[in-house]
């Protein structure tokens, strides 16, 4: 047994979970969704062990290269999912959300991602690494969920307008409100982890809390998009399609901050 075995078991559990969830979507049998949820939960536990293993083995936080970071983001997403499911009980978003997680896990296990744990370069040796990355990625996991429910909203809304919506279950209105609830969890987390902890750490390591490096700027852009979401909604009363579109753009900005900046734009952050 080692970390990669745990990782593999987790991956398989998530795939099975998605499989059961999709069977639930087609068959409408509630207990299939319950099995899906339990599998995802079991995956979360094994995944936690994998991360702990990695931490003990490497002696540092489990998110210092892209493989680790993707694995951690998947973990945070499932954690967010378990919390949301427990609070809001919206089974139908489960299958789609699990697709995102599976894509992240697949990317993490692809041969493009070097798996070996390298010793930490000097700037990364800080407990702010833990706080900064873990809180930010948890925030982004909630944005990811809002992304899914926003897309589901757009579909449900056009079905309702066409009159082809199913009477029972998840209405467009409910999806809209769940997107908002997720963003109102993700936004403070992202602010705290991405911007506040990021600034504190940058100040400690580089001597300047803000240097407009592309990763910083893109975090700020992401944050602005969600600020836009909140204000159009709270102050101008936008809801529905326009809100959902902004939430989708916000998540795409978050994704770009996460991947795009590393592979397309270079900067101080290029090691993480």
């Amino acid at each position: 047994m080692n970390e990669s075995t745990f990782f593999l078991i987790t991956f398989i559990l998530y795939i099975f979970s998605a499989f059961f969830y999709f069977s639930f979507l087609f068959s409408k049998k509630e207990n299939l969704a319950r099995i899906g949820f339990n599998l995802a939960f079991a995956g979360l536990i094994i995944h936690t062990l994998a991360l702990i293993w990695r931490t003990v083995e490497s002696g540092h936080a489990p998110f210092t290269n892209m493989y680790e970071s993707l694995s951690f983001l998947s973990w945070a997403s499932i954690l967010a999912y378990v919390l949301i499911e427990w609070k809001f009980k919206i089974r139908k978003a489960g299958p789609y959300f699990l697709l995102i997680v599976i894509a992240l896990m697949a990317l993490a296990s692809s041969p493009l991602m070097p798996k070996e744990a390298n010793p930490l370069m000097p700037a990364l040796q800080s407990y702010w690494l833990w706080l900064h990355v873990s809180v930010t990625l948890l925030g982004e996991a909630f944005f990811a969920f809002a992304f899914i429910t926003s897309i589901m909203y757009l579909v449900a809304d056009s079905n309702e307008k066409k009159g082809s919506a199913k009477k029972s279950g998840l209405t467009a209105e409910k999806l809209d409100s769940i997107s908002y609830r997720c963003i109102s969890i993700g936004f403070p987390l992202f602010t705290l982890g991405g911007l506040v902890f990021g600034m504190i750490w940058a100040y400690k390591a580089w001597g300047s809390y803000w240097s407009w490096d592309p990763k910083e700027t893109w975090s700020l852009i992401t944050w602005f998009v969600f600020a836009l979401y909140l204000h159009t909604r709270i102050v101008m009363g936008w809801k529905g399609r326009r809100s959902a579109s902004i939430a989708i753009i916000g998540f795409l900005a978050a994704i770009f901050t996460y991947f795009g900046v590393n592979y397309i734009l270079a900067g101080l952050h290029s090691y993480a």
């Binding site: 370069m121 040796q125 702010w128 602010t191 580089w206 809390y209 700027t217």
Partner: protein, 450 residues
């Protein structure tokens, strides 16, 4: 003036500004920033001139970007101030007596009647609300009794606290921009430097680079002493992530470098036809040393840390890192030069020795020692405390805005023919479902009142 306030308090303006600032920030991440104007012209041609002209090449410091941020700050100030005073009034000097139809327009409401006296009903309701941590206000008017019950008032001000925090951050940014300064200081061991704009000096006692077993850098550590009027007052090991703070200045380990002016070089001498022959010598630059047991002198005339042959065939160094160290050596027999040429540490079997006279000696560049200097960044940033205060306010505000929803219940009680009629209406800024169930519990307990 009125239209000025009108304009700057509008949330529409905030949204337009947010969009413009977001889009232009994006541009700045795709155009490399802060290069020389010539570089842009070389890279983008005619477009380069346009980028320079629009200051897109130093976007975040350009006048128009700063101006946008200024408008944004002004927007927040005017908007918050305009909304604040009615809000404060509502929070601290609320109108308690309401018309019944005011309660009726609230989303969450209930009307009920019981056969108890008004006094008993009122006490029951008050007790129920108090036990749920509502703060009560009460008044009477025209035989009616009005109750106003509220809790978590701070939730109303969450957004204002966030905005105040943002303003503090923007203020901190401006102060940093104007009053902040940073300078790289380059120390070799033992050197003493004046800190620019400060009264004290710094001395580097010791500089070490720590490595991992695989050769990667683990840490740089500089032992620094602060001297006030030549008296040492403080000594600290500065490493990456562990700066030294002193009198408003902060000193960071930002890098290191090699001092290549006077390296010492270790050379191994072998004989091609005698495998047991091995002589090790350590040489300073341009120091002529007799090879032990031989009649030959050798000297290292030049040392290059990162050997490369340039476009015109000239020999230079690609960088200041010892990536491809090379030494130029010369050998003498009496006053006659017998060989000269380059030897390479990374390629021991390859040399470019040019011999005047037959010799079976072979040379290897084995090791080198050069002084390292430490690069310490000195900075003074008077805005930074504003930033931390601003961040704290923002986070506290976000908490109150999202997770401390204000709840308000208005009640009108009226006694008629030994019965008491109660009209209740409720309002919550967030999580209305939770409030609705609390509201229902309150009305249920009212019905059960005996």
């Amino acid at each position: 003036m009125k239209s000025f306030i009108e304009f700057f308090s509008s949330v529409k303006l905030a949204i337009v500004l947010l969009i413009i600032i977001t889009v232009s920030s994006t541009l700045g991440t795709f155009i490399p920033q802060m290069r020389s104007p010539e570089e842009y012209v070389a890279r983008y041609g005619q477009l380069g001139n346009l980028l320079n002209g629009l200051q897109l090449t130093r976007l975040y410091k350009s006048w128009w970007f700063v101006f946008l941020l200024f408008l944004f700050a002004l927007n927040i100030i005017v908007c918050t101030l305009k909304r604040l005073s009615p809000k404060l009034k509502k929070a601290f000097k609320p109108r308690i007596a309401i018309e019944e139809k005011e309660a009726a327009v609230l989303k969450i409401k209930e009307k009920l009647k019981n056969s108890l006296s008004l006094a008993v009903t009122k006490e029951g309701l008050k007790k129920e609300l108090s036990s749920r941590h509502y703060r009560l206000r009460e008044t009477e008017k025209e035989n009616k009794t009005f109750l106003l019950a509220r809790k978590r008032i701070l939730g109303w001000f969450g957004a204002d606290i966030v905005h105040l925090g943002l303003l503090t951050i923007i203020a901190g940014g401006i102060i940093s921009g104007i009053g902040g300064f940073r300078r790289s200081l380059t120390f070799s061991e033992g050197s003493l430097l004046d800190v620019p704009r400060a009264e004290f000096k710094l001395r580097l006692e010791k500089f070490e680079t720590e490595f991992y077993p695989n050769g990667a850098v683990k840490d740089w550590k500089s032992t620094l002493t602060v001297l006030e009027k030549d008296n040492p007052v403080l000594k600290k090991v500065v490493e990456v992530n562990h700066p030294l703070s002193y009198k408003g200045f902060v000193f960071y380990q930002s890098g290191y470098g090699w001092n290549w002016t006077n390296p010492s070089v270790e050379i191994w001498v072998k004989k091609k036809d005698d495998p047991s022959f091995l002589k090790k010598t350590e040489l300073k630059l341009r120091q002529r040393v007799r090879l032990e047991g031989e009649d030959i002198d050798v000297a290292v005339l030049q040392f290059i840390p990162d050997f490369v042959i340039g476009e015109k065939g000239q020999i230079t160094t690609r960088s200041l890192e010892p990536n491809n160290p090379a030494a130029f050596i010369e050998g003498w027999q009496a006053e006659e030069k017998i060989f000269s040429g380059w030897i390479f540490a990374r390629f021991p079997d390859f040399d470019r020795i040019h011999s005047e006279k037959e010799t079976d000696l072979a040379f290897e560049l084995k090791n080198f020692k050069a002084g390292q200097y430490s690069v310490i960044q000195a900075s003074r940033d008077p805005g930074v405390n504003f930033i931390w205060v601003g961040c704290t306010l923002t986070m506290v505000g976000l908490f109150f805005a999202f997770y401390w929803p204000t709840r308000e219940i208005k009640a009108v009680l009226e006694e008629a023919q030994n019965k008491t009629g109660i009209t209740l209406g409720g309002l919550a800024t967030k999580s209305r479902d939770a409030f609705r169930s609390e509201f229902e519990k309150i009305t249920t307990s009212l019905r059960r009142l005996k």
